[in-house]
């Protein structure tokens, strides 16, 4: 099975199944799809540099387009990549309406990441979070402080909080990430 499809199918429901159920009139499955992809849409919009207020509008528009296109999207290879492309188009249209100069427009339109890569990153994040929940202590706490906390901390701060010497933080972090990698293998990652 394609890696993206396999990853996104975890833990139990595939996008295709969700879309089919949604088209059959089950609103709950639409919400599950939204919860699965809303961060990706929102983050993609934010990265184009449009105003925070406009990001909500773009998010709403993309969700509307997405829903209207659901039937067609049942067979799409990567729903995430399609959503990234659609979100970028919505943002570009807004930039163009602002009549900004060509150079500035290019700044906003230039992306270093392909939609497929960004979507895969979001899908990976989903699986990594599932694996992270199975990680034991003290690794769970250490990685949470280092990588999952919204407020990044310095090594010194993390070492103090974990009550371990700063110079042992690097090796401990490496061991913990190895443990996380081994859990991820169970997810076919």
């Amino acid at each position: 099975m394609d890696n993206q499809v396999r990853g996104w199918a975890t833990p139990n429901i595939t996008d295709e199944t969700l879309i089919s159920q949604c088209l059959a009139g089950h609103q709950q499955t639409w919400e599950i799809l939204l919860l699965r992809y809303e961060k990706l849409i929102y983050y993609t919009a934010l990265r184009t540099g449009i105003d925070a207020v406009e990001v909500d509008d773009v998010f709403q528009n993309v969700c509307t387009i997405w829903f209207k296109e659901l039937k067609r999207l049942r067979d799409v290879r990567s729903l995430g990549a399609w959503l990234v492309t659609t979100t970028r188009r919505e943002c570009w249209a807004r930039w163009r309406r602002k009549n900004i100069g060509e150079e500035e427009l290019n700044d906003h339109l230039a992306f270093d990441e392909s939609p497929e890569k960004l979507a895969a990153q979001a899908e990976d994040a989903y699986i990594v979070q599932l694996a992270f929940r199975q990680l034991g202590e003290p690794c769970h706490r250490l990685l949470k402080l280092l990588y999952f906390d919204p407020d990044p901390r310095s090594y010194a701060e993390v070492a103090r909080e974990m009550d371990i010497p700063v110079n042992s933080l690097g090796p401990t972090r490496a061991r913990c990430l190895e443990k996380l990698k081994s859990i991820l293998k169970k997810f076919d990652w």
């Binding site: 639409w30 919400e31 961060k39 990706l40 929102y42 990153q121 990976d124 989903y126 929940r133 202590e137």
Partner: protein
């Protein structure tokens, strides 16, 4: 550094996170560019892992934006109508439209569509109300109207009952906050949605044509004709205990049907655990699912064995015959919160029966 010796995970991580000193950086770069397949693979995996963890911290849309997106679901009905727009030009349709127009003109003095609101009752202790998101908090009292979009919060000594026009009652325990997000009636069908950010509520919904939904950070529940309680733990986990009827609980990771006498837990990013009898969860007996067994030292173990939120909330305060099901201390001790579950349900004192009696 010899090109024959593989790079350690620590070295690769430091390389990927730009933590190496210039001399080591040069050696590591040299080794990687030498074409060592093991190190290249390990480096690629670690890079992917770091990027995935970075993506975990991406911001999410607001609850309001999410809710509006959920409502998009109702668009296809409009869409289907417009797809059939050719019938608009059919003479029969035009005739019917004219009749409809005449009827509208004749009955235009009919009362306007009602705007529904909920009502606060049995307010004890400190209970605050914010009528809109931009308004300020105001102390509330029994009998106060709660319009759509309003937010209610109870203090540690506060409790209240929210009654809806269809007869559904929601009891708010202490330290609870919720927003009334949807309250509508279409073709005799009630739709009520509250967004609960903290604390515990008990819902008694007696009408089959009422769809009662509670939205939380972990997911949402939907129920008709059910008596259940929902607690939002400090770590965001949603604990649902059903007394009567059944409740459908959904999170991004899966869905769960919780039946009468069962308690279910939902987390935003892990598969829901199988519902367990509330009597077991109330006595804090640990249960494990296969996926959680491997997490014996971690977070997953803490998602089990929580207090049944409201096993006895509707009994009379002095009715000792009903006090045999007192909750026991929770075994829940998540990393974020080590003392979250009270020894008894916050809803267990002084709340009303569905029929209005204490």
């Amino acid at each position: 550094m010899s090109n024959n010796i593989h790079l350690s995970t620590e070295q690769l991580l430091d390389f990927l996170e730009n933590r190496l000193d210039p001399a080591t950086l040069e050696k590591v770069s040299e080794h990687l560019s030498s074409g060592c397949p093991d190190c290249a693979n390990n480096s690629a995996t670690l890079r992917r892992l770091l990027q995935a963890m970075e993506a975990s911290a991406w911001p999410a849309p607001s609850a309001q934006a999410h809710h509006q997106a959920v409502e998009v679901f109702h668009l296809p009905f409009l869409q289907k109508f417009w797809e059939r727009r050719t019938i608009i030009f059919h003479p029969v349709f035009i005739g019917l439209a004219l009749i409809a127009l005449i009827l509208v003109i004749l009955f235009r003095s009919s009362p306007p569509q009602p705007v529904y609101a909920a009502n606060l009752e049995n307010v004890t202790g400190r209970v605050d109300l914010k009528v809109t998101s931009s308004a300020s908090w105001q102390a509330s009292s029994s009998g106060q109207s709660v319009p759509l979009g309003a937010t209610i919060r109870t203090a540690s000594n506060g409790r209240a009952v929210l009654t809806f026009p269809d007869g559904t009652r929601t009891t708010l325990g202490p330290d609870t906050q919720l927003e009334l997000t949807v309250l509508s009636k279409t073709d005799g069908q009630w739709r009520i949605t509250i967004t609960q950010t903290s604390g515990e509520t008990e819902v008694v919904s007696t009408l089959k044509n009422t769809l009662f939904r509670i939205q939380t950070a972990a997911g949402f529940t939907e129920a008709r004709e059910a008596d259940f309680s929902l607690r939002v733990e400090e770590n965001g986990t949603m604990v649902v205990s059903v007394k009567e009827g059944s409740v459908n609980a959904n999170s991004p990771a899966g869905s769960l049907l919780i039946s009468s006498g069962e308690t279910g837990l939902l987390h935003k990013n892990s598969a829901p655990t199988t519902p367990i009898p509330s009597s077991i969860s109330a006595s804090a007996t640990p249960t494990s699912t296969p996926s959680e067994t491997s997490a014996s030292e971690g977070d997953a173990q803490n998602n089990q064995a929580t207090v049944s939120p409201s096993q006895e909330e509707t009994h009379e305060p002095n009715d000792t015959s009903n006090n045999t099901s007192n909750s026991t201390p929770s075994a829940s001790n998540t990393i974020e919160s080590n003392q979250q579950s009270p020894t008894t349900s916050p809803l267990s004192e002084g709340t009303q029966q569905p029929d209005g009696t204490n």
